[in-house]
C-alpha cells in the first residue's frame, strides 16, 4: 500500500529529477512525462540521473500545449503505466514539475491509508465555479475551441462569440456531468482504473479532446461517474492570481509553507534553493495526522490579489494612477473637514477646534501667498512644502498627499473666496470631504476693516461672485462630498446647535456639552453695513437676510451649556 506519483513537466528538468528522486528513493514509484518540446539534452541528462532508480518510468513524450487535450493524454498514458507496472500503488498523485513536497511522503501515506477509498480531487459543478477567467465555464463543454487562447486571442474570442450568436452546442455524452477543478489530484487505484477501462472511454476522449482546458475538466467530471468517496479539494497547495496565473513560491515563503501543513505545493521558483534544500532534507519531522491548513497563506494571496485589482484607496503613485473619470474610486484615503467662513466669524476658531476635537486644524491651506499649515509650519508631514507655487502646480496632488501623509489623524482646514479656487471641484467630488460653509462670512472681516468703502464693496462683490460659483458647484448633482451650507444670517441667529453637532461628529456617543465656545466677532452695526452695500448697488445675497437693526442673538453666545435634542 503506497502512493505513486505521476509528474508532468516541460522545463527545469534538474528540479524535476530532484523531486522524482526524492520520492523514488523513499520507495514510491514515479511515472514522468516530459513535454516533447523540452531539449533533448536536458531530457538525457535527467534520465541518466534517474536511471539508478528502478521505480521510475518515463512515458512516451508528447508535445503538450496549454489548454489542450495532449496534457490529459499524457496523464492517461502515465496512469496506465503506473497501474500496470506498480501493483502495490493504492493512490495515484498527479504532480507537476514545479511541485515540491512539504511534508514527508510517509505522512501522505499515513493520511491516505486512513482514507483508503477517498478520491482527492477538486470537482465543482460549472454553476458553482467562481474562478474561471474570461467567464467560460459550462461553455467549455458545449462550444468548440479550434484557436489557441494564448496565441490567437482575438480569433478565439471571435469564434466563441460567433458560436454563442448562432447557438451551436456540442452534445455532452451521456455519463459526463460537467465539473471543473484544479488539475492536480490524488485518486484511488479503483477510481483511476475505472476511468481508464471505462467502455465508453474512447467516446469521452474524443469528446474531451475538444473541450477547452480539459485538464481541469476530464478527471473532474469522470470522477463523478466512477468515484465512491469524493473529497472535493486538492492535496496540492496551489493558488492563482487575478490573471489566473499560479502564484510562485520563493525562499522567503519557507515559514508560510511550513505552517501550511500541506503535502505538496506548486509552483516553486526553480531557483528557490533554500526551499528545495529544506523540504527535500531527510530530517523533516513527521506530523502524521495533521490536516493541511493553508488559511494563512490564502490570506496573503487574497490580499495580494486585492492590492493588484483594487489597490490602496486614495493613493496616487507611479503604478496606481486612476483615470480622472473613475467616479467609483475614492479620491483621498481618509475623511477630512473643510470649514468656510468660520474663521472669519470666530477669531480663535483654529485653536478652539483643535482643542475640542483633537484633530489637526490648519489655517487656509489654499491661501494665495503660502500654505497655512497648522502652527504656521514651513514643512509638514511627508515633507510637504508651504510654497504656494508648488501647491498650485498640482493642487489635487497636494491635498491627496496631505491626507495620505497624515493617516490616522483627521485633517481640518479653512477655505474661502480669498483662497486659490482650483481645488473647489475636487473638494466637491471627493466623498471623503465634509464641507461646512457659512456663506457671506467673508463680509465680517470686511466690515471690521478700515478700508475705503469703495474698495470694500469691490472686494465684497468679487468674493461673492467666487463663493456663489463655489456654492453652485457644491450643490450640483455630481457632488459627492458631505456639504452643509448656512447663510451668515442663519448661522449667527443660532450658532450653538451647529457647533455642537460639528463637535459631536468627532466624539459620537458622548454627549459632551459645549462648555467653551469660540469667540464670535462683534456684529454690532453689521446690519447697517449690509444695507450700505445694498445702497451702493451690490446685493450681498449670500449673507442672507440680515435685519437692519442689531439682532438679539448676534452677540457672543452665552457660556451656558447647551444641549441639543
Amino acid at each position: 500500500m503506497s502512493v505513486g506519483f505521476i509528474m508532468l513537466a516541460h522545463k527545469n528538468l534538474d528540479r524535476v529529477a530532484q523531486v522524482a528522486g526524492y520520492w523514488a528513493q523513499r520507495d514510491h514509484p514515479v511515472v514522468i512525462h516530459i513535454d516533447a518540446r523540452a531539449p533533448r539534452a536536458d531530457f538525457d541528462e535527467m534520465t541518466e540521473v534517474l536511471q539508478k532508480f528502478r521505480n521510475i518510468r518515463f512515458v512516451a513524450r508528447r508535445p503538450c500545449d496549454w489548454g489542450k487535450f495532449s496534457i490529459v493524454a499524457a496523464t492517461l498514458d502515465a496512469a496506465e503505466i503506473m497501474l500496470a507496472q506498480f501493483p502495490d500503488v493504492s493512490h495515484v498523485f498527479l504532480a507537476s514539475g514545479s511541485c515540491l513536497p512539504l511534508r514527508p511522503v510517509e505522512d501522505l501515506d499515513a493520511y491516505l491509508a486512513a482514507r483508503p477509498d477517498t478520491d482527492f480531487i477538486e470537482s465543482v459543478t460549472t454553476e458553482e465555479v467562481t474562478w474561471t477567467v474570461g467567464g467560460l465555464d459550462l461553455e467549455r463543454f458545449t462550444l468548440r475551441f479550434p484557436f489557441s487562447w494564448k496565441k490567437h486571442r482575438r480569433l478565439f474570442d471571435a469564434y466563441v462569440n460567433f458560436q454563442r450568436r448562432i447557438g451551436v452546442q456540442r452534445r455532452i455524452p451521456e455519463g459526463v456531468e460537467p465539473h471543473l477543478g484544479s488539475q492536480w489530484w490524488c485518486l484511488t487505484r479503483a477510481t483511476l482504473q475505472a476511468i481508464l477501462t471505462d467502455p465508453k472511454r474512447s467516446v469521452y476522449d474524443t469528446y474531451f479532446s475538444k473541450v477547452w482546458i480539459p485538464d481541469e475538466a476530464y478527471f473532474q467530471s469522470l470522477v463523478r461517474k466512477h468515484g465512491r468517496e469524493i473529497e472535493s479539494r486538492s492535496l496540492t497547495l496551489s493558488r492563482f492570481d487575478h490573471q489566473g496565473k499560479p502564484h510562485v513560491f520563493y525562499d522567503d515563503h519557507l515559514q508560510l509553507l511550513q505552517r501550511s501543513d500541506c503535502f505538496v505545493a506548486r509552483k516553486i521558483w526553480p531557483r528557490a534553493n533554500k526551499l528545495y534544500r529544506r523540504f527535500l532534507a531527510d530530517e523533516i519531522k513527521v506530523l502524521a495526522r495533521i490536516e493541511p491548513n493553508p488559511r494563512k497563506l490564502d490570506k496573503v494571496f487574497l490580499r495580494a490579489n486585492a492590492r493588484r485589482t483594487q489597490g490602496r484607496a486614495g493613493l496616487k503613485m507611479q503604478s496606481r494612477f486612476p483615470r480622472r473619470d473613475s467616479w467609483a474610486l475614492q479620491k483621498t484615503c481618509a475623511p477630512y473637514s473643510v470649514y468656510e467662513g468660520f474663521s472669519d466669524l470666530f477669531s480663535n476658531f483654529d485653536t478652539w477646534m483643535e482643542k475640542r476635537t483633537g484633530t489637526r486644524v490648519h489655517g487656509h491651506l489654499f491661501h494665495k501667498s503660502a500654505v497655512k499649515f497648522a502652527g504656521n509650519a514651513e514643512i509638514f508631514n511627508g515633507c510637504l512644502s508651504n510654497s504656494a507655487k508648488l501647491r498650485d502646480y498640482n493642487p489635487e496632488a497636494f491635498l491627496t498627499n496631505l491626507i495620505w501623509n497624515t493617516q490616522g489623524e483627521h485633517q481640518t482646514f479653512q477655505f474661502g473666496p480669498a483662497d486659490r479656487q482650483e481645488i473647489g471641484r475636487f473638494l466637491a467630488s471627493d466623498q471623503n470631504a465634509s464641507l461646512y460653509v457659512v456663506t457671506g462670512a467673508w463680509s465680517v472681516p470686511l466690515f471690521h476693516s478700515e478700508m475705503n468703502f469703495q474698495r470694500v464693496r469691490r472686494i465684497a462683490a468679487r468674493y461673492q461672485a467666487i463663493e456663489a460659483a463655489h456654492v453652485e458647484n457644491l450643490r450640483s448633482e455630481h457632488t459627492r462630498a458631505k456639504v452643509h451650507i448656512w447663510t451668515l444670517a442663519e448661522f449667527v441667529e443660532d450658532p450653538m446647535p451647529i457647533l455642537q453637532s460639528i463637535i459631536e461628529q468627532f466624539d459620537p456617543g458622548t454627549s459632551r456639552k459645549l462648555t467653551e465656545v469660540p469667540k464670535m466677532a462683534d456684529l454690532t452695526g453689521f446690519g447697517k453695513f449690509v444695507q450700505r452695500l445694498k445702497n451702493e448697488g451690490m446685493n450681498p445675497h449670500l449673507v442672507g437676510d440680515f435685519p437692519l437693526g442689531d439682532i438679539a442673538l448676534h452677540k457672543t453666545p452665552s457660556l451656558k451649556p447647551y444641549v441639543v435634542r
Partner: protein, 336 residues
C-alpha cells in the same frame, strides 16, 4: 489614439533608431565581452563620466542582485574610471569623447547598444548613482522578478527615482570608496510627489521630492522628472526617448494601473547628494552638457550655499523596500 498619431509615433521611433545607428559611430569599443552573454542573462547598461569613486560599490550592488553583464559607455573620464572598468571581467566598455548633450544625454548611445545586445534580454538602464530597489529585493535576486514578469506577460517595470540626501550639509556627506552611499545619504521625502499623465507617450510624469522642494519651489514646472522605466524586456524596435523616462512603443510606458489597482513597481534610490555633488554640479555647469541648458544645475548652484542641507524634521530615514511600499512609493502588485 488616432491612426495619424500612432503613425507619427512610429516615425518618431524609427527616426530615433536611425539616429542611434548614426550616433554609434561616436563609440569606440574598448573591451567587448558581449560574446559571453548567455540567453537568460540580465544586462545592465550605463553611461558615465568620472565616477571612479562610486564604481566599486555600484558594481558590487548590482552583482549581488544577480547581474553579471555590464555594458558601459565612458564619456571621456579622466579619473581612472575607464582603467577600473577594464579590469572587471563582467564589463564590456565603449568610449567616446563626443558630446553627451548631442547624443540626447547618452540615450542615443544606449539605444544603439540596447539594439545590438539587448534584444531578447531583460535590460536594466541605470546611472552610477542609482540603486534599484524592487519588491522582495532583500530576499529574491533580480531573476526572480524577471521570471515573474515574463510569466505575467509584463514587458516593462517602473521604478520611480527617489532622491536621497544626508542629514548634514551636502558637502560634509563624505562617502568613501566602496562604502554604501545610502548609509550616508539615508533620508528621503515620503509624500510630496506630483503626478500627471503625458498624453503623447502615455507615461506618467512625476515631479516632487527633495529637489522640487529645495531647488524648484519657484518654478515647479522645471523640477526634474522622477518617473523611470529602467527594467525592460528588450525587443527589436524598442527605443528610449528621453533618459529612461519614456519609451516607444507606447505600451511600454503603461507601468501603472488606471482602474484603481496597483501594478508592481520599484524605486531607484538616487544617491546624488553627497559631498562630491557641489563640485560636480559646478563642473557640469561649465560643461553645459545637461538637459535644458543644464537648467537643473543652475538651480542647484543658486540653491546651494555652503551648509545647505535638504533634511527636514519630516524626512524619512530609509530602512528597506517594505517601508517604501507602506509609504505608497512603490508596490508589490500581485507579486507575493
Amino acid at each position: 489614439m488616432s491612426l495619424a498619431s500612432t503613425y507619427r509615433l512610429r516615425l518618431e521611433r524609427k527616426k530615433k533608431r536611425l539616429r542611434a545607428v548614426r550616433k554609434s559611430r561616436e563609440l569606440t569599443p574598448v573591451v567587448d565581452r558581449t560574446d559571453e552573454i548567455r540567453a537568460k542573462d540580465i544586462l545592465l547598461f550605463c553611461t558615465l563620466r568620472n565616477e571612479r569613486q562610486r564604481l566599486p560599490y555600484f558594481m558590487a550592488y548590482y552583482r549581488k542582485l544577480g547581474i553579471n553583464r555590464f555594458l558601459f559607455v565612458d564619456n571621456g573620464s579622466d579619473d581612472g574610471s575607464r582603467e577600473y572598468l577594464l579590469d572587471q571581467s563582467d564589463v564590456s566598455l565603449w568610449s567616446t569623447t563626443q558630446s553627451y548633450r548631442r547624443a540626447k544625454f547618452g540615450v542615443d548611445w544606449l539605444n544603439w547598444l540596447l539594439a545590438r545586445h539587448g534584444v531578447g534580454h531583460w535590460t536594466l538602464v541605470v546611472d552610477v548613482d542609482e540603486f534599484f530597489v524592487y519588491p522582495f529585493c532583500d530576499s529574491r535576486p533580480l531573476p526572480a522578478l524577471t521570471d515573474w514578469l515574463d510569466a505575467s506577460s509584463i514587458r516593462s517595470f517602473g521604478a520611480m527615482l527617489l532622491d536621497m540626501y544626508p542629514k548634514e550639509s551636502i558637502e560634509d556627506a563624505v562617502c568613501k570608496e566602496g562604502q554604501n552611499p545610502l548609509e550616508v545619504a539615508e533620508y528621503f521625502d515620503a509624500g510630496n510627489y506630483m503626478i500627471s499623465r503625458n498624453p503623447k507617450y502615455g507615461n506618467l510624469w512625476i515631479q516632487g521630492g527633495a529637489r522640487a522642494r529645495a531647488f524648484f519651489g519657484n518654478e515647479p514646472e522645471r523640477a526634474p522628472a522622477l518617473n523611470k522605466i529602467p527594467l525592460v524586456k528588450w525587443s527589436r524596435g524598442n527605443v528610449y526617448i528621453s533618459s529612461t523616462h519614456t519609451l516607444l512603443p507606447r505600451g511600454l510606458n503603461l507601468v501603472y494601473d488606471e482602474n484603481g489597482g496597483e501594478k508592481a513597481s520599484g524605486c531607484l534610490l538616487h544617491a546624488k547628494f553627497l559631498s562630491s555633488f557641489p563640485e560636480k554640479s559646478q563642473e557640469e555647469l561649465t560643461r553645459k552638457q545637461h538637459y535644458a541648458n543644464s537648467h537643473e544645475y543652475r538651480a542647484y548652484n543658486k540653491g546651494l550655499k555652503r551648509g545647505t542641507s535638504l533634511w527636514t524634521k519630516w524626512s524619512e530615514k530609509y530602512i528597506n523596500w517594505r517601508q517604501l511600499e507602506i509609504l505608497g512609493l512603490m508596490s508589490k502588485g500581485s507579486w507575493v
